[in-house]
């Protein structure tokens, strides 16, 4: 038996043939995106205007950035329910540091980002070293982060920020809104990390089979810690965008955003059990959600009905894509 019995490896096309594209896990989210866009375009004239497309992307940016960290976490088989609350807390405290303590704004932003990272590390430590279920850890830290934000601000939003902060939310470079550029950069970095580094592979490996990864020498706990830290980091980057959009620190902001982020990740084809998925899918998922919100608004649909339609389309999209999961 020589190794011709080893059937020649079917060369995985590096090029993008149409067939390979169809077999890619991105195919279905993409088809979903195109179908929904066309529907929206038919129903509303304004939909395909450049202005509206940039408008949608800008609206997507906050949840889109949250969903990056969420993708890392879900790929390891975890979940992070605290992202919305962490974002709100970071935004509130950053604003507070600028307004109440009088810290220079850039410093306050950096401090806020460091705080978000630290909160992520706490989540990660509890999950990885504490060996506690992620859903319950992050549910608890979600409640705690909200409470802390409200205690700090006394429930009032914190306004009076330097006006250039709004650049992060509504500024433009050329025609492109700044938050859209930030989102694109964050996705690019995430793609490289997940697809081209050992760390990225380990993220997938832990989601696939944690025991096997650990026994083969992957530092599973460190990787787990890292993904929650990344989620905290992206939550605080989202906070920067949000603060720019709201021009204030809002302790109540982002309620339920964790669910939107999860929906984006799953719509993008990532398995909720971990181990499989692509970051670009998440981007598609986030945009799909944004288009739904935007399109239904543009069509002037009754807001109650919007929830029903949105739920239905999400179900439909996941149903069609389910074989890839």
């Amino acid at each position: 038996m020589s190794h011709d019995t080893v059937t020649a490896p079917e060369e995985k096309g590096r090029g993008f043939s149409p067939a390979s594209l169809l077999r890619s896990p991105l195919a279905l989210p993409l088809i979903g995106l195109i179908v929904v866009s066309c529907l929206m375009g038919l129903a509303s004239d304004n939909f395909f205007s450049l202005n509206n497309i940039l408008n949608v992307l800008r609206q997507v940016s906050v949840v889109g950035v949250l969903a990056v960290g969420m993708t890392f976490v879900i790929l390891t088989g975890g979940i992070d329910l605290s992202v919305g609350a962490v974002m709100a807390l970071v935004g509130t405290l950053s604003a507070g540091m600028m307004v109440n303590i009088g810290l220079p704004a850039p410093l306050a932003l950096v401090a806020g980002i460091a705080l978000g990272l630290a909160l992520g590390v706490v989540n990660g430590a509890l999950v990885a070293w504490g060996r506690m279920p992620a859903i319950i850890v992050t549910l608890a830290t979600m409640g705690m982060a909200r409470g802390l934000g409200l205690i700090y601000s006394g429930g009032y939003p914190i306004s009076g920020l330097p006006s250039w902060i709004s650049w992060f939310g509504i500024g433009r470079i050329g025609v492109i809104p700044v938050p859209v550029i930030m989102m694109a950069l964050i996705y690019a970095v995430a793609w490289v990390v997940l697809q081209r580094t050992a760390f990225g592979r380990h993220v997938y490996a832990i989601g696939g089979n944690e025991t096997a990864a650990r026994l083969s020498g992957v530092k599973t706990r460190r990787v787990q810690l890292a993904v929650y830290a990344i989620s905290g980091l992206t939550a605080s980057l989202a906070a920067v965008i949000l603060t720019g959009r709201l021009m204030s620190g809002q302790p109540n902001a982002g309620v339920g955003f964790e669910l939107d982020a999860i929906a984006a990740v799953v719509l993008g084809g990532t398995a909720i059990a971990g181990g499989r998925g692509l970051i670009l899918g998440t981007l598609i998922g986030a945009v799909l959600l944004g288009i739904l919100n935007n399109g239904l608004n543009l069509m002037g649909i009754n807001p109650y009905l919007q929830d029903v339609i949105k739920g239905f389309i999400i179900l439909l999209a996941i149903y069609i894509g389910r074989d890839w999961r």
């Binding site: 038996m1 190794h3 019995t5 080893v6 059937t7 020649a8 490896p9 079917e10 060369e11 995985k12 490289v192 081209r196 580094t197 050992a198 592979r201 380990h202 997938y204 490996a205 989601g207 696939g208 089979n209 025991t211 096997a212 990864a213 650990r214 026994l215 083969s216 020498g217 992957v218 530092k219 181990g275 499989r276």
Partner: protein, 500 residues
């Protein structure tokens, strides 16, 4: 009694069975043989309704049957012990045995007493004493295997398929199983038996059928063939002695790894052993004698009461396999599916899983081309039969999956490899090559600890053998003392020193 005719099976575009015939009579034990990936398990899954054939027919007692799922097969009197475990980890043995077929008492509620009594009876038949009340996750692999077997026996099947049931058993337990098989044969049950241990075939089977690459090669009575002929049918060529010669280890060779004190449980025995450069150290013992736990404890993957290890004379305390890896120690775990493979990964990703240092570019990034080249080479070295390095490992046959895990470690520049049941489920041809690779590895001055329940393997491969009993090493034998009598004597009657 059972007739499979022209069975073909395609997965997507790939045909893995090309028209296989199988005829089994009542009251015979029929061996199904073939290399890894020949299609044995697939054929059995088709027989039991778990997979649907692309073409071909199944006849039982002359009547053509179609099984849409396993339940229908069971109803028709066909039962199987799967190659991969199918137990529910948190349910106990009784609950597992009767899962889906619970006995009911008053008001349709469970009749737990009756199920327990029946389970005890089956276990007594098998002459094993498996704890019935603890979650099966806490049982040893062998005990779980017996629960699997008991579960299939509880079906009272007329056709019973055993897919590599002995891969995790020690000889005495295999004997118990054979006794039960003989009893079933007397009761006119047809048994299809899959094993890569050919001596078992000659001991228990009446007829054999051989597959090669999804093709039917032949079928005959066991009495008409001998070992070499069977191997030739399977592999298509002769295999010389499967064990490479032992070069003999220089007694002055430096000690790489020294376990000064390993105590698994408080109050249990304390083991010590040393591993020298260039040697293969075998760990023998009965099932549950603590070999797996000991090797895990070395790396800090099992919470032993005490574990004092020296590497190159320096005291070390590993907190986990990651630190072991950093010091050049690799572990191939006992259960490939639960502990070895990332089943959603491709072969390539599994092989390179912990070895990205080899394919780094600019320090941070993976060099995809180098990764592909190395993996292709590693796959060829252990003869993984697959569509290519990008095939997902869960589409591979059991033996090929095992080879992927082996390839992962041989692809690594390790100093010490710990192989726990390395050849479980691997066919004879590939075994010989893996043994040769292990020897080539030690010839470079590296060392291997191999835990094996297959006595011939331990004897043929090891330079020295540590014999375990009841959680500790009772003897270490070398040279001519490495023979089955000595080892078995130590393993069954060796004195265990209990230390407070």
């Amino acid at each position: 009694m059972l007739e499979l005719n022209g069975i073909k099976k395609r997965f997507g575009r790939i045909e893995v069975l090309h028209g296989v015939d199988l005829r089994v009579h009542a009251g015979e034990v029929h061996a199904l043989l073939g290399e890894n990936g020949a299609g044995k398990s697939t054929l059995m899954k088709i027989l039991t309704g778990i997979l649907q054939p692309s073409e071909g027919t199944i006849r039982i007692d002359g009547a053509e049957r179609h099984f849409a799922d396993y339940d229908e097969a069971i109803a028709a009197g066909v039962g199987i012990v799967f190659q991969e475990f199918s137990l529910i980890p948190y349910l106990d043995a009784v609950e597992n045995m009767f899962l889906g077929r619970e006995l009911r008492g008053r008001f349709g509620l469970l009749d737990r007493r009756a199920m327990r009594a029946r389970a005890r009876e089956i276990m007594r038949q098998l002459a094993v004493d498996v704890p019935l009340d603890v979650p099966v996750a806490r049982l040893s692999v062998a005990e779980q295997q017996f629960v699997e077997i008991a579960k299939a026996l509880s079906l009272n099947a007329r056709i019973l398929v055993l897919d590599e049931p002995t891969a995790t058993l020690t000889p005495s337990e295999v004997e118990h199983l054979f006794a039960v098989m003989r009893e079933l044969r007397r009761q006119d049950v047809a048994i299809i038996f899959i094993s890569h241990h050919l001596e078992e075939i000659f001991e228990i089977c009446d007829r054999i059928t051989v597959l090669r690459d999804g093709q039917f090669v032949g079928s005959c009575a066991v009495s008409e063939v001998d070992n070499d002929r069977v191997v030739e049918m399977m592999v298509g060529r002769r295999i010389e002695s499967s064990f490479p010669p032992k070069p003999g280890v220089d007694p002055a060779a430096p000690v790489v790894l020294e376990a000064e004190e390993v105590q698994l449980r408080r109050g249990g025995p304390v083991s010590r052993f040393e591993l020298r450069s260039g040697e293969i150290l075998g760990f023998a013992g009965l099932v549950g004698s603590g070999r797996t736990e000991t090797v895990l404890a070395l790396l800090g993957a099992y919470p032993a009461a005490r574990c004092k290890v020296r590497m190159d004379g320096v005291e070390k305390r590993f907190s986990g396999p990651d630190e072991g890896l950093a010091h050049g120690i690799g572990l191939l775990p006992e259960s490939r599916k639960d502990e070895g493979l990332i089943t959603s990964f491709s072969i390539l990703q599994n092989v390179s899983l912990n070895n990205y240092g080899k394919y780094r570019r600019n320090h941070w990034f993976i060099d995809l081309r180098k990764e592909l080249d190395c993996t292709t080479a590693a796959m060829a070295a252990v003869r993984v039969k697959a569509q290519g390095p990008h095939a997902r490992v869960d589409t591979l046959s059991g033996g090929n999956q095992q080879k992927v895990v082996i390839a992962r470690w041989l692809n690594h520049d390790m100093r010490v490899l710990i192989f726990d049941e390395p050849t479980r489920g691997i066919d004879v041809g590939a075994k010989a090559e893996i043994y040769a690779l292990m020897r080539a590895f030690t010839a470079r001055g590296h060392s291997i600890i191999t835990v094996s329940s297959e006595l011939p393997e331990v004897i043929g491969l090891s330079d020295r053998v540590c014999v375990f009993r009841q959680g500790g090493i009772v003897a270490t034998v070398e040279g001519a003392d490495i023979n089955s009598e000595t080892i078995m004597t130590h393993a069954t009657t060796g004195r265990v020193e209990h230390v407070a």
